[in-house]
Every structure is written in structure tokens, then in C-alpha cells.
Symmetry: C2
Subunit: 555 residues, 2 copies
């Protein structure tokens, strides 16, 4: 059985899922021994521990020019000591060029099969990857397992499915028969999706896998070799993924340099050397807006960015305000606000929030939110694991900045103890009150555990502020609470025009932070928070060019 | 019967056609009295004549700020004397903004129906438009009828069909049901394609309709109002189209300013005022590379360009070299080389072209081509009508430039008499011999009737030069003649990688210049000749943003 035969049903199901958009997952998100094996967790942890303080020898990239690595664990606040094989931009580009011809001439079916197989192999390392993610990003165990493992693999599968679907969207060949009156003009036509060229994926330090694999797999399925440039602070999770891809490539007789890892160090970053090279045609990037803007401005490149935005919560009315406060408290605590989808600006009318029991005042809601945050972070069985650790010390400065904004502090940020890691770098959310007139102060993202409660004249002003913020400064998510159909439509229209997706009235076990593969388009691509959307058709079709060929039909 | 009911079968057929890519046409290309009516031609001509030397009062744009018009007929070499209502960029933008809300809230079905209806109305003016096109562009009657009428309308229909298909590609609503073990998380989700904003289409002087309607209809179907900025030398053809769109909008209770004409004059162009306005989000452009590059560099815009390129002919081997010379002679004479798909650079091996009767030498082929051109242009029943007239005097200077390149002149450019218009501005093709070593001299487009015969070492060098030219300077078409399967594959691969479509071995009644709606992607978007392709999915999906909404399902 060919590799394509082995995976074609999986591929078919994934393609159906991206069109259907109801719930679908290829890789189970629950790290259960029943699913992944009784010893999977321990084995993964052991494998992670065994990789510390030595060379990472799992890649198939030969003749390293150096061995580098500066990762530090936010839980241990000490270096991981792992060294990765490093190469100059020239070497990486040169090897990528050489590998390209074979890869672009590999059939679409075979490329898809190889990529799906690589995800299945990656699945075998989900637990090892979870520990690698924890100790580079500071994510809690559950998030590290899910986001870096099954959720990332699902988003990669989604990119493969979308790519495959688009590559096969038009007929390979067609007989064209044009009646001209006395005779017909008859042509045989064919079309080929030609890959754009060399691609690179620039990773971030908080979601090294989840934010890198969609672009990586989208470029690979469309025939472009890819250089993965991880953040120097979070290399290991993607090193594992790239290693598995390289092994499957090699097993199938393909040059493993189709997918290369390009680790670097803080003091000598090679990102610009790669990005500015003429041969690089496609760039996927997650990170700061400043660097994203620089990349988007490079000539002759197609750039897919996820940059920064400021996410809003619009509070108008609710059936059960306590459930709302509880849900939002969890949203702002999850990974200490270090998610791109985490809400920051809460817009609340000065007249309060409508509920079936009457108005809940601004102050009452502020207190409820603070109480719920305290309840969560002080719960030793939940708080440390939901908060995780702060990826880097700079993020801590944002709680200080928030304090300097000058508004009433409803809740101070503080550290908490992590029962498993006594050195963990932790910070609970700070909650600061602001006025709608302070607009110049709340338009910036204060990345990390920062909540601003903004007192508005009324919900109309809340919506205006949230939508203009999204339009001018970017937004990736919006949570809105309203029981009023007119207000709901207003929010859908205004936030929709600001290209921001909206979650309404979430309570219980679903949060605005969460975007599901195969259903939610992640980032819309239509506001300054990023120009790409995972995974819509644009995300894959910009990676290749349709070229047509035609000639007279015989006879 | 609703307008949508009236047109839904037409729409369905067009959608099927863009996926099938075999021959399809909605509007018959033959200007036959049997199809269009016995008096259609005369009526159209009368209507055109009646429009001369007066105000064009057919538009529904009120309170003109000026009346302008500087069109001149290349056949009469005198002004048409038509004045169009003109407006400042501010007024146009303001009216477009106001019309947008209603248009974006018009259902996709209704938008599609209105647009198809407008094409049917335009059909009633195909003959009038043919004369308008002749006397602005210099095209011959047949081309002016076909390219500006049925072919343009077909490409507009194609854009509507693609847009409709993409807008309906994902479910409007979906129930999302995620098993969480002990319970399920259930959400109702919905998605909306939000239009990007105000759009503008910048027309050219040679194909004012054909090159403007695809972008116009693509923007309109996706919910964006559009300002049509025609070339000051070719306003009337698009004025007719815009007038018909406006009438259908008004009949359906929609603000006609959804589609506005923005005529200007050579001395006071408003293109930049419009393009640089923050409200303009989408720009479609056909014209010079310099201005196209400027537009592509504007911040915060999505720009679709068709710029200039240098098209190649690769001559390796042929079954019947006389038929090849005849076919190519017609290609270079058609509209005096003023088509973006017209070949300029003929690459011929110094050892000659292989045929079943032995080698045809470079010199013999050059003579055959010159003879065939002479035979065509000196045929009074064909020459004047195939050549048409030269749109503007500047184009004539390119034959002079070609002469200065210094190679042997195989055929001089000359004027011919047009039996219907004694003042017609005409020029036959100049044919100049060059050497492959003159690469710096033949990388520029010499727009108009210029043929360069370039002597190469062998076909490999021909292919290398043609592909590097396309990659670095752009190309929209490539004609290749070879009977060798290996050479054919080499050309497909190299020209494919340079994102240039190839027509192989065309003889008889089909020419490399011709690209058919619903089948040929026009321009690939993958080389410097332009960043867009008519009509591939990218051409429509970049005009809107998918935004998602979700909330807990009841119960």
C-alpha cells in the first residue's frame, strides 16, 4: 500500500471538515493514557529530560557550522543547555534551492501523504513536545500538550487539506472546443500550480509550534521548501517537528533539506539575512508588529503575518453576570494573558450591565471579576496550572506599566507559588480602571496579565471604541455579552467591519481565547493584527501560481 | 419572478464553467444580425455618432462639478467632443462611502442578479460600444466589437461567478458540537464575508472595457462600491457600461453611486488623489509598470495590476513552417501589436528550425515572416482591419527605437491606407534582427508593431533567455513551436517557473494573443508583468474578509 493509499481517507475527512466547519479533530486533545498509552506521559517527560544539556542530534542536516542554543525554562529560570546544529543563511538557502526541484516535482498526492505521515509521527512525540513547550514558553502542562501537540497538528492538517483541495481545484487537462461557424477550434489545455519558491517560517516564543506549523505545512503542500527559523527562546518544540518531517522525507527518498531548522541566538539573529535574501519568496511570521511591518514592507515577498492587537470585551447585558465574571476571569488568567486571543480592554457602561435582576454597576462587576480572579489563582489545584509561567522577564514590566496608567487598581498583580517548580516566574493579572476619555492610554497592547476596565457612556460608545481600536490598532478576538438582539446585530456589524470575529455570551467551559482548527478562522487578516488567516483559501493559494499550457488537439 | 430567479440559471452555468474550464461563452462573439438583430449594427453606429460633440447625459451622477472630455479618434485624428460629468476625488469618495452601507447589506443573490442584469443591458449596447472602442483605441471593428463587448462581458460574468462561488463557499451557519468527555460544548457559529471597502478601477487606453470590467464586477459582487477611473483617452466605452450598471441599481432601489464614473483630463488627472485616499482599499489597474509599481507600493491597499512585459516566441521545430510564419505574422499585425499578449521577441537558433523537410535557416524564417506580414497588410480586404489604428502618436516612436537597436532590418514599418478612414494613424510591424548577446537591448517592451528576431546558439539558450526575461521583466504570453517532447517539457518547466503560460504549435485560426474567459487565466500574477490573474480565486477572495461569530447553543 502506498503512503498515499494509507492516508487518503484521513485527507478526505480533513478536506470535508474544512468545508463543513462543524467540530472535527484528527488528533485527540485529551492527554489520556487510554488514548496515547499508559506510559506515554512518563516516556515523553523522560525523553525531554534526556535531551537537556546536550546536542540535539535528531535532525538530518549535515555538517553544522556551529552548535547553538540559549533556551531557558520559565519554570526553572535556568538554561536548558540544548545545542542545535546551526548554519549560515547562505548554506540554508543553498540547500533549500537544491532540494526544491525534487520537491516541486513530487506529486501532490505524494506530498500530502508525506506530510500527513509526518504529523502521525509527531503524534508519537506529543508528550515530549508538551514538556519542551512548558519549559520554553511557560505554558501550563495541559495547554502545552494541547496547543503544541494535537491542536497544532490539527491546524497543520487543516493547511494540508486546504492546500490539497486548492491544488486539485481545477482540471489538470481539458479539451477546449470552440465552434467558429464553419469549423471548430480545438485545443488541449492543461494547468499547473507552480510553487512560488523558497519559504521561511519565523516562530514566536509563546506558541512555537501552534503558530509555526500552519505556514510550514501550507508552504510544503504547495511545493515550496521551507526554512523554519524558531525564536531563540523556544527552539525545541519545532526541532522535534522538523526532525520528524525530515525522517519521513528521507524514508521516501526525498532530500530532507526540503524542511530545515535554522536555530540562532539572541546576539546573532539570522532572520533578516534569510528574509532579505532574494530567493525567499514566502514568509510566515508571528510576533511584534514592528518586525511584522518590516517584513510586510520587503519587496518581492508574499508575507503572512500574525502581529499584535488589542482585544476587547463588550459588556452590555447578561443572563447570569456571575457566570460571565467567572468565564472572563479564567480567560485573563489562562497562560497569564500571554495568548494573542486574550482579552485586555473591558468596556463597561457607567450605568452598569443589564441583568434579569436589574443593573449590575461598573463597580460591582469590577469586584466580581477581581474576586473570581483571586478565587482561581488562589486555588492551589488550579491557579498555578492555569497561569503557567511568564515566558520572559520583559512581560512582567507590563503590569508595572498598567499601574502607571493612573486609574484605580482593582486588583494588584502578584506572584504565586507553583507546587512543582519553586523557581517559576509567575504573575497574576492586574485589574485597572480607566475612563473612555483615556483612549490614548489603552490603545496599546500590554502583553501579559493586564486587564483594563474602561468606563463608557453607554454600550454604543463601548462598541465604537472596540471597533475603532480593532480597525486602527488590530484585534484578534472580541468577547461580547448582550441579551439584546439589536445590540448584538450592531456589534456583529461594527466588529465585522473591523474584521474582528466575535464570541457572544460565552460562559462555562468555552472561552474567547480558544480558536478551533477546521472551524474557526484564526485572525481574519483584515485589520492591523495580521494580514493572514488560519486557514482560509487565501492562506494557501498565495503560495503557488496557476500556469496554463495549450496546443492544438490532434485531428 | 425576482431578478435573482431570472438570472440564477445563467449564474449557475457560469459557475460550472469556471470550474470546468472547457469552452463557454455567455455572450456570442459574432456580430451577426441573426443573433443581435438586423439593425443592431446600424443602430449602434447611429447612437455612437449621435453622442459626438455633446454632453454624455446617460449617467445618474447628479450635480457635476465640471464637464470634461479630451478623447480623440485614432481613425479620424480629431476630438470626439464628448463631455462627461466630472467630480473631485472628495465628492466621489464621499458618495461611494454613502452608497456602501446599502450595497454591502444587499444579499449576495441580489447583488449577483443586479450585476448579471447589467451585463444583459450592456449587451444591448455592444454595437454602440464597438464604435466607441474603435474611435478611442484604434482597434479594428471586429476586435472592438468582440473584445469590448461579448469577451469583456464574459470576463465580467466570470468574475461575478467566481465571486458568488467564493462568497457562498462556506456555510452561513453551523452547529458546533464538541465532546468533552462528561459533557459537550455546543456553539452556534456563523460566518460573514465582509467587503474590504471602497474600490477603484483604473482603465487603460487600448482595452478600456476588457481590462476594466473584471475588477469592477469582482469588487461589486463582493460588496465593495467602485469608482471607475477611465483613461482620459478612452472614456466612452466604460461610460456606457457604468451607465447601464447605474440604471439597474436605481431600478432595484439602490443608490447608483455604488458604481461611479470618474473621468478626468490629461492636464488634471485625479488618479493619485483617489488612489492615495485612505478610504480606497482596493485598486485594479492596467497600464505602465512605473505607475503600477507606485500603486503596489501604497500602504493599506490591496492592488491588482496588469503591467507591461516582454512576450517571447520560442522557435525550435515545426511540422509546417509556413503555417507557423502565417500564424505569427497575424499575431504581430493584430491591432498593430498593441495587445498585452502580442509577441515581441522571437528566439531562433542560429542553426535554424527543424522541420520534416530539413532545417529552415534563421534567414529563411525571417524572410517568410516578412513576406507573410506584407501579404497580410497589403491585402486591402484584411490588412487595414487587422492592423486597426495606432492609439496614440507615442507608440509610433517605438518602431524608430527598434530601428536604432542596430540590427538588420528585415522589414520596415510603414503606413497603409484605410479605405474607410483616410486620416487613420497606421503603422505596420518593423522586423529587426538581433543577437542573443544583445540582451540589454531586448529586455524592454517596445509597445506597438515591433518584432525582434533574436539569433541564439540553440533552443536551450532560447528557453533560458525567454524564461529569464519573463522572470525579471515580466511576460503575459509565450508562443512555442516544437515537435520534440523533451524540449516541450523543458519549456513547460522553465516558463512555468517564470509564471508564464505557453501556447504550443498554434497555427490556423487561433493565436497566442487570445485568452478566453472561463478557460484561460489571463496573466498569472507570478511575474513582474502583473500581480493579478483574471480570474483565479485570489482575484476575488482578496476583496473580502471572512469574519466569524459564535455563541452558546440554547439548551
Amino acid at each position: 500500500m502506498s503512503l498515499y493509499e494509507k492516508h487518503k481517507d484521513t485527507l478526505k475527512k480533513a478536506i470535508d471538515a474544512v468545508h463543513d466547519r462543524s467540530f472535527y479533530a484528527q488528533y485527540p486533545e485529551h492527554p489520556s493514557p487510554k488514548i496515547y498509552g499508559e506510559t506515554a506521559d512518563k516516556d515523553g517527560q523522560d525523553k525531554f529530560k534526556a535531551s537537556l544539556d546536550k546536542k540535539f542530534e535528531d535532525l538530518l542536516q549535515t555538517d553544522p557550522e556551529a552548535w547553538v542554543g540559549q533556551e531557558e525554562s520559565p519554570y526553572l529560570q535556568k538554561p536548558l543547555g540544548i545545542l542545535y546544529p546551526a548554519f549560515s543563511a547562505e548554506t540554508l538557502i543553498d540547500r533549500s534551492q537544491k532540494a526544491w526541484t525534487q520537491w516541486r516535482n513530487t506529486s501532490i498526492d505524494d506530498r500530502a501523504a508525506i506530510l500527513v505521515e509526518s504529523l502521525d509521527r509527531f503524534k508519537e512525540r506529543f508528550f515530549e513536545n508538551a514538556y519542551a513547550t512548558m519549559h520554553t514558553t511557560g505554558q501550563g502542562y495541559m495547554m502545552a500538550f494541547q496547543a503544541s501537540g494535537p491542536h497544532a497538528a490539527d491546524r497543520a492538517m487543516e493547511a494540508v487539506a486546504f492546500g490539497y483541495d486548492e491544488l486539485k481545484r481545477f482540471p489538470e487537462k481539458k479539451f477546449w472546443d470552440k465552434p467558429m461557424g464553419k469549423f471548430n477550434v480545438q485545443l488541449n489545455k492543461s494547468w499547473k500550480p507552480m510553487p512560488k519558491g523558497l519559504s521561511m517560517v519565523i516562530g514566536c516564543s509563546t506558541f512555537p509550534t501552534w503558530n509555526s506549523v500552519p505556514g510550514l505545512y501550507a508552504s510544503l503542500i504547495t511545493g515550496n521548501p521551507c526554512i523554519v527559523k524558531p525564536h531563540p527562546g523556544a527552539i525545541l518544540p519545532m526541532a522535534i517537528v522538523v526532525a520528524e518531517i525530515q525522517k519521513v522525507l528521507k524514508e521516501n527518498g526525498i532530500d530532507p533539506n526540503v524542511c530545515q531548522l535554522a536555530p540562532d541566538t539572541y546576539d546573532k539573529m539570522i532572520t533578516k539575512d534569510l528574509a532579505e535574501n532574494k530567493a525567499i519568496k514566502l514568509i510566515d511570521y508571528t510576533g511584534s508588529s514592528a518586525f511584522g511591518d518590516y517584513l510586510e514592507g520587503l519587496d518581492g515577498k508574499i508575507v503572512f503575518t500574525e502581529k499584535t492587537g488589542v482585544n476587547s470585551v463588550i459588556l452590555d447585558s447578561a443572563e447570569n453576570i456571575d457566570k460571565v465574571a467567572q468565564n472572563l476571569a479564567f480567560s485573563v488568567c489562562l497562560y497569564s494573558g500571554q495568548m494573542c486571543t486574550c482579552p485586555q480592554n473591558f468596556f463597561i457602561p457607567e450605568g452598569g450591565i443589564n441583568t434579569p435582576d436589574g443593573k449590575v454597576s461598573f463597580e460591582d462587576f469590577a469586584q466580581k471579576l477581581a474576586d473570581n480572579i483571586n478565587g482561581l489563582v488562589d486555588n492551589p489545584k488550579a491557579g498555578p496550572f492555569v497561569l503557567g509561567a511568564i515566558q520572559n522577564a520583559n512581560t512582567l514590566s507590563h503590569t508595572e506599566e498598567a499601574k502607571k496608567l493612573g486609574g484605580k487598581v482593582w486588583l494588584e498583580s502578584r506572584t504565586i507559588e507553583n507546587p512543582m517548580f519553586d523557581k517559576a516566574r509567575t504573575a497574576t493579572p492586574i485589574v485597572v480602571e480607566m475612563s473612555a476619555s483615556d483612549e490614548d492610554k489603552f490603545t496599546n497592547e500590554l502583553f501579559g496579565p493586564v486587564v483594563l476596565l474602561i468606563k463608557t457612556k453607554d454600550t454604543n460608545q463601548s462598541v465604537d471604541l472596540a471597533s475603532s481600536l480593532a480597525e486602527n490598532h488590530g484585534a484578534i478576538s472580541c468577547a461580547a455579552y448582550t441579551t439584546d438582539e439589536t445590540i448584538k446585530n450592531l456589534i456583529m456589524d461594527k466588529m465585522g467591519m473591523a474584521a474582528t470575529s466575535v464570541s457572544f455570551n460565552l460562559t462555562g467551559a468555552i472561552h474567547v481565547n480558544q480558536n478551533a482548527g477546521f472551524s474557526d478562522f484564526h485572525v481574519t487578516g483584515g485589520n492591523p493584527a495580521g494580514n493572514a488567516s488560519l486557514t482560509n483559501p487565501e492562506y494557501v493559494i498565495k503560495r503557488f501560481t496557476w500556469v496554463g499550457f495549450r496546443e492544438p488537439a490532434e485531428g
